[in-house]
Symmetry: C2
Subunit: 164 residues, 2 copies
DNA sequence: GTTATCTTTCATATATTTCTGAAAGTATGA
DNA sequence: TCATACTTTCAGAAATATATGAAAGATAAC
């Protein structure tokens, strides 16, 4: 890691990881691959981030799972290489989609169950409001996630500006 | 904890906590206070969640810090009681504000530094795009957070529907 | 089949986060 | 000032999450 700016980028992404509820190494690998000009092999990643093979393998799999990176083959080599999605906006869409799936949808299901099971009207009122809030967020994320190349956010912003 | 629906609500909120990058007990206390009809004392919270005094104190402070609950005094009692914000939408605004401050703003600062320090045009292009994405999210959250009683989300949703 | 190369798994180790409970701190009022 | 009622702190314990590296599992070429 000779380039200071890239190095800082990798470090920063890793430090932010805990806020985002993901693991630090996963974030660092992602950053490394975003910054990289070419696809990298597992060994290159291990070396540059000073992590073990098992760790690299686990986090690469998780990143592929999130749809944030993909396996690519280089020439006729046996070795697998990894490459980050090169379109930043589409990366944003994927993150939106995954977070919706992992963070929001399970809450909606659980809140609806609470609502069904409870007879307390005061509690039900609160849960309904919460559900309304969560569903709105869910809906916004859902629409965002559906865009191929996102033009949504700028439009949303424009609308917000006319209010306030 | 006799009420099953409330109990499930507290449990669910706690389980989601890791996704949101906050701690489980903090989320459970928050849920307990949302569900409660009256303010609760530290001892009541300790007892109902079966946690220690130190733990309760630490997480109550964090929740006050986030602006999600507040200290209230009951009658002439010496003891402090805690109460969740009763307005769910305003709670949403607070969460938006805190997450913007904790998760988004530091990234923007760091990305701008990366941009300044790097001479690699390919890298700079990616960072600029990333910055644009992050700033858009920041801006949306910022506007959301500024609303007192949020009417923003429904409007945003309405706008999104006209596109698709 | 055998060898060489690369990937995945998993028991164990390490690091990090969270929790406990007793001690110290603070405020109130007799 | 002392006793009382409550809050906060913090060192160590427990729980959880992450990482390691050697072994087992693939796959391809010979």
């Amino acid at each position: 890691m000779k380039d200071n700016a890239k190095d800082k980028f990798v470090r920063t992404w890793g430090e932010m990881a805990s806020c985002w509820g993901i693991n630090k190494t996963m974030a660092r690998i992602h950053a490394l691959l975003i910054a990289a000009d070419a696809a990298l092999s597992t060994d290159e990643i291990m070396e540059r981030l000073e992590i073990s093979r098992g760790n690299a393998n686990m986090n690469l799999r998780a990143l592929v799972d999130w749809g944030l990176i993909r396996r690519v083959s280089v020439g006729s080599e046996r070795r697998e290489y990894f490459q980050a999605d090169q379109d930043i906006w589409s990366m944003g869409c994927r993150i939106a989609r995954e977070r919706k799936k992992r963070e929001i949808e399970p809450v909606i299901v659980a809140l609806e169950e609470c609502l069904k099971e409870s007879g307390d009207p005061r509690f039900n009122k609160k849960i309904s409001e919460l559900l309304e809030l969560v569903k709105t967020v869910d809906s916004v994320l859902g629409r965002l996630a559906r865009q191929e190349r996102s033009t949504v956010m700028p439009k949303v912003l424009a609308v917000l500006k006319t209010m306030a």
